[in-house]
Symmetry: C2
Subunit: 318 residues, 2 copies
């Protein structure tokens, strides 16, 4: 089976053809149409086996996650996903792996009504690069750099489950089976907050998806907006599974620095909090205030009454 057959058989999803796709997979280029009045938002991310996912992970989950991380970036911009392109590097032709990959790709593409319009495949170390494309009007495009001091910092859901799930997957954390199953699901197959991003258009003053970890991502908003941030330890939302674990430090570390939950973090004017909560409720998504932007540079965390700076927390990776 050659490169072109692999692309056609395993990357080309033949259902769910979109009307804005004039030419999909199969030529030198894809050709698409951006609707009038919309701008094109795009994001590209590479996942490498052993770095971004476990080398023995199920291929359907790998496909899911590779798409999810890119759609999560679109969500953070308030964009509505439309098309993806997929480049897959594989050490050897493995039909079972490819069938699983195709299944995972099809499932998430269908779920979000996105079409795979371009593909590339070659022999090499296992890695997947996906670029996602979506639509958003220019004046409601959400960015990191547009927040102001005084605004509230919110997130769309529980934090830390995916990082705890990774520990379970790696055998570093022993938990009851029902807890394990929930945490693993959050790690392997996160669902990006696409609907939240669209609802937050014109409401959030800035947004980012939590892919590097809450503290790092709040730091991105703070730095790029030229403000500081004060987060409250006790407001960080945790799932009942995370709360059931008898190790607060590990759980909070996961919530503050684990980045695989793909929730959105956004800022909102205090007067807009209630209407934003109600709007997010219409798409079944929570709006949880966890702190506030301040005029004092840096990200700080209020732990009961003690103030910790992010540097003092000793998380070295940002």
């Amino acid at each position: 089976m050659n490169e072109f057959d692999i692309i056609d058989q395993f990357l080309n999803i033949k259902t769910g053809q979109r009307k804005d796709v004039i030419k999909g997979i199969g030529d030198d280029c894809a050709l698409v149409k951006v609707p009038r009045g919309q701008r094109l938002a795009l994001s590209m991310d590479t996942l490498i086996a052993g770095v971004h996912f476990l080398a023995d992970a199920n291929a359907a989950d790998v496909a899911h996650k590779a798409v999810a991380v890119n759609l999560s970036d679109l969500s953070a911009a308030g964009a509505e996903p439309a098309w993806i392109t997929v480049s897959l590097s594989l050490p050897e032709f493995d039909e079972n792996w490819l069938m699983d990959f195709h299944r995972g790709l099809k499932k998430i593409a269908d779920f979000f009504t996105v079409q795979v319009i371009g593909g590339d495949t070659c022999r090499g170390p296992l890695s997947i690069t996906i670029q996602a494309h979506g639509f958003v009007p220019e004046n409601v495009f959400l960015q990191r750099s547009t927040a102001q001091a005084g605004e509230l910092i919110c997130v769309t859901g529980n934090l830390g489950d995916a990082a705890l799930g990774l520990k379970v997957a790696q055998g570093d954390l022993q938990v009851p089976p029902n807890v394990a199953s929930q945490l693993l699901k959050k790690y392997y197959t996160p669902y990006p907050r696409v609907a939240a991003g669209i609802v937050l258009r014109g409401r959030a003053t800035a947004a980012i998806d939590i892919s590097d970890g809450l503290l790092a991502d709040v730091n991105h908003i703070s730095q790029q907006s030229g403000v500081g941030a004060l987060l409250r330890w006790e407001r960080i939302p945790l799932s009942k599974e995370a709360q059931s674990l008898d190790n607060e430090e590990m759980v909070m570390r996961a919530a503050l620095t684990g980045g695989d939950d793909y929730e959105l973090c956004f800022t909102v004017d205090e007067d807009e909090l209630e209407s934003t909560k109600q709007a997010l409720e219409t798409v079944g998504i929570d709006c949880i205030p966890i702190g506030r932007l301040t005029g004092k540079p840096g990200v700080r965390l209020l732990h009961h009454k003690e103030e910790l700076t992010v540097e003092a927390l000793g998380y070295s990776h940002f």
Copy 2:
């Protein structure tokens, strides 16, 4: 230096900002505007060290080639390049390599007035994925599948030099220094036929860039158009460097099956040949007829008066 610094310092080209780029590198998404009346053509290709380029190749040349192969796909569609996104996987932080990469990226981006609007970087086996985006009106988008029997098959320039250059680079071919220098240049830094693609809008009946090798790429047009092809051995254009080598079989094998020249192969109605030649002349590009599409399936090659089928040529890679 972290991921974000690397992206900002080495992938973000700070000159040549385009007016259609609303937001470039530095947020979750880039935001761009497709001009009214234009469709968006896009192509993604991954190059892996040791597979698509020599692991010790100069990083400026690697950057050049990674962009060139993608712009070549746009050319084949008749699209005018606008933006690229770059994902770079590197085994370790190597400032000199990254400075060279940046220099090569900047040079070709400036040459073709394309802007790098998105970047991703991570630690992993050396590879580069680039997606190129360009504009083309829907009714003049060039495809592979639209050729008809009786039309002429043409190419835009000499074939085989890049494949011979690879042999020189690998030490498998000894040639005089001036010949080596020309062949190596064609292999390391091909210039995609962007202007030709634009000129061929509305003139060529089908087009492809020669990336898999002439025979394989003519086969793509033939198969996807449901016709056959008859090429003439003696019409295949060779550079004076290739002609100077005393090994016709090796040279012709390079010209017929080497794919790294990134010339365009296109089909044209016989009545349009002269006007097409004149139009390509205005951008300094040749138009060389090398055969004709036929009603008989398969790609055949007329070698003096002997007819060879492509299968009989024993080139196994397609």
